[in-house]
């Protein structure tokens, strides 16, 4: 699957309180969360972001709390995928479990700037900066995780598995 979108670039250690501040966690409605997505990192982000845009960030994206509201807010804002040098572990898990595409690629993060248009091929993990024509290769996901993502998240995967077992 190919995605194409405009880049919003962020720094390192973007925590889940910056992605969706705790003061908005009295709901888990994606549209409502999207209105405050990335607000404490960039107050203008919820107004600027367009459907299909791509978040690019430095190391340790999504550190801090376990709130799944973080990937949900990003999906609610219709961000197509997140590319980072590395992801904090619970965010990584949550993204896979909820079906938010994420890619780890340090070289791409260094070269890509805010406003660049980028094409991502999720099937093989290639990232192309359409401004420069440069192509980068993200680390591939283990088969097991690809299986979950192909089903659109862990619950669909589980539903399939449970029905197969006759439960």
């Amino acid at each position: 699957m190919k995605l194409k979108g405009k880049v919003h670039k962020f720094g390192k250690d973007i925590d889940t309180d910056a992605i969706i501040p705790a003061r908005y966690l009295n709901t888990f409605d994606p549209q409502e969360l999207a209105r405050h997505c990335m607000e404490d990192a960039d107050p203008e982000f919820p107004n600027k972001v367009q459907a299909g845009d791509i978040i690019v960030a430095d190391k340790n994206f999504g550190c801090g709390s376990s709130r799944e509201h973080a990937p949900i807010a990003i999906q609610g804002a219709q961000v197509a995928c997140v590319i980072a040098k590395s992801f904090a572990r619970i965010f990584y898990r949550n993204a896979i479990n909820t079906g938010l595409p994420i890619l780890e690629c340090a070289a791409a993060v260094d070269a890509i700037e805010t406003g660049d248009e980028v094409e991502v091929d999720l099937s093989n993990g290639t990232i192309t900066n359409l401004r420069t024509g440069q192509m980068y290769q993200a680390a591939p996901f283990p088969d097991f995780m690809q299986g979950i993502m192909a089903q659109g998240g862990l619950m669909n995967y589980l539903k399939e598995k449970l029905s197969y077992q006759g439960n």
Binding site: D13, D17, A22, N26, N60, S66, R89, I90
Partner: protein
Amino acid sequence: MGMTVSQKILAAHAGRDQVEAGELINCKLDVVLGNDITAPPAISEFKRLGLPRVFNKDRVVLVPDHFTPNKDIKAAEQAKILRDFAREYDINNYFEVGQMGIEHCLLPEQGLVLPGDLIIGADSHTCTYGALGAFATGVGSTDMAAGMATGEGWFKVPETIKFVYYGALPRWVSGKDLILHTIGDVGVDGARYMSMEFTGEAISALSMDGRFTMANMAIEAGGKNGIFEVDDKTIEYVQGRAKRPYRIFTSGPDATYAQIREYDVSKLEPVVAFPHLPENTKPVSEAADVSIDQVVIGSCTNGRMEDLQAAAGLLKGRKVHPELRVIIFPGTRQIYLDALRQGLIEIFVEAGAVVSTPTCGPCLGGHMGILAKGERALATTNRNFVGRMGHPESEVYLSSPAVAAASAIKGRITAPWEIK
């Protein structure tokens, strides 16, 4: 290849003799936890599966602790989702306001988590239970839903970093200072995806409360879990609380470590983490003269008896500085009662502090002490991210209860030995 204690617990729960770091495995879970923020999405996902019951109604724990007593209508609706679900699915370990405590103080206290357990919680500080020699890790709501349904979860077997602390702890240096110092050393992603194993003579000398504080903040170094050896103190703590058998695992003598880091604690002094990351640490003597508007003592990091005693020791017979507010929130109802019986609550109120019912409250900027723009707090909590306790332009500094109490008296960040 030898396994570390974390790898052994995972292997045992996967029904395997041996696992290797990096392997993806499926494990049986002992306990699945959720709170009023993370459980509602998990419950809605769980219901999509259409199952008549959870995998084990004694092993699902629901604690409405974050925005309770309900801070607003939306929070009330979320808490009600937990309550209704607990009744409908006959969940025994649902803790209503009045019984409730901050989850990571409550579960160990109630004997719901035990040595050798594999625990997932839809809360990042689930790693706290590693103080008991359990493998406990934070996950998201979807993992919680899957865990409630199947009693199983997927894990990537982590590598382990061993942290060895030797020497005698100086007066005023607590578990909080050890863990802040460690995070300052390795950074907020220094242990990303890894197990943090805490050991050494200073750890043996540390109380259980101090160990809970340290395990609690493993996530602040990016760790998957933090874990301690089970010793006499652990057994003493667990005795009388455990209502089921438990197993003790230890790292093999030939266990493989990704890194071994050693610290001489005898040279340490209390540590303060500056905004906006827990890794921005300085010794308290270099933090002096930072003026503060609010002091918060409590949370799943430092809301236990020993923490309240340390604060009360300094506040007794003294007054909170007139230009600052002090909010104290004990971790559980039992801790609240013990503090009441020992006269600590009276000391706090006499000093001019506010004592709250157990709740996460200001720790995550929920309620009960939110900061205005430009305000500065010193807190015994675990995170000082931008906007964590209120306005995005407010600031949070992190410290031990002793430093927090000393600072409450002086109105600026103060070393405990300055209170004479």
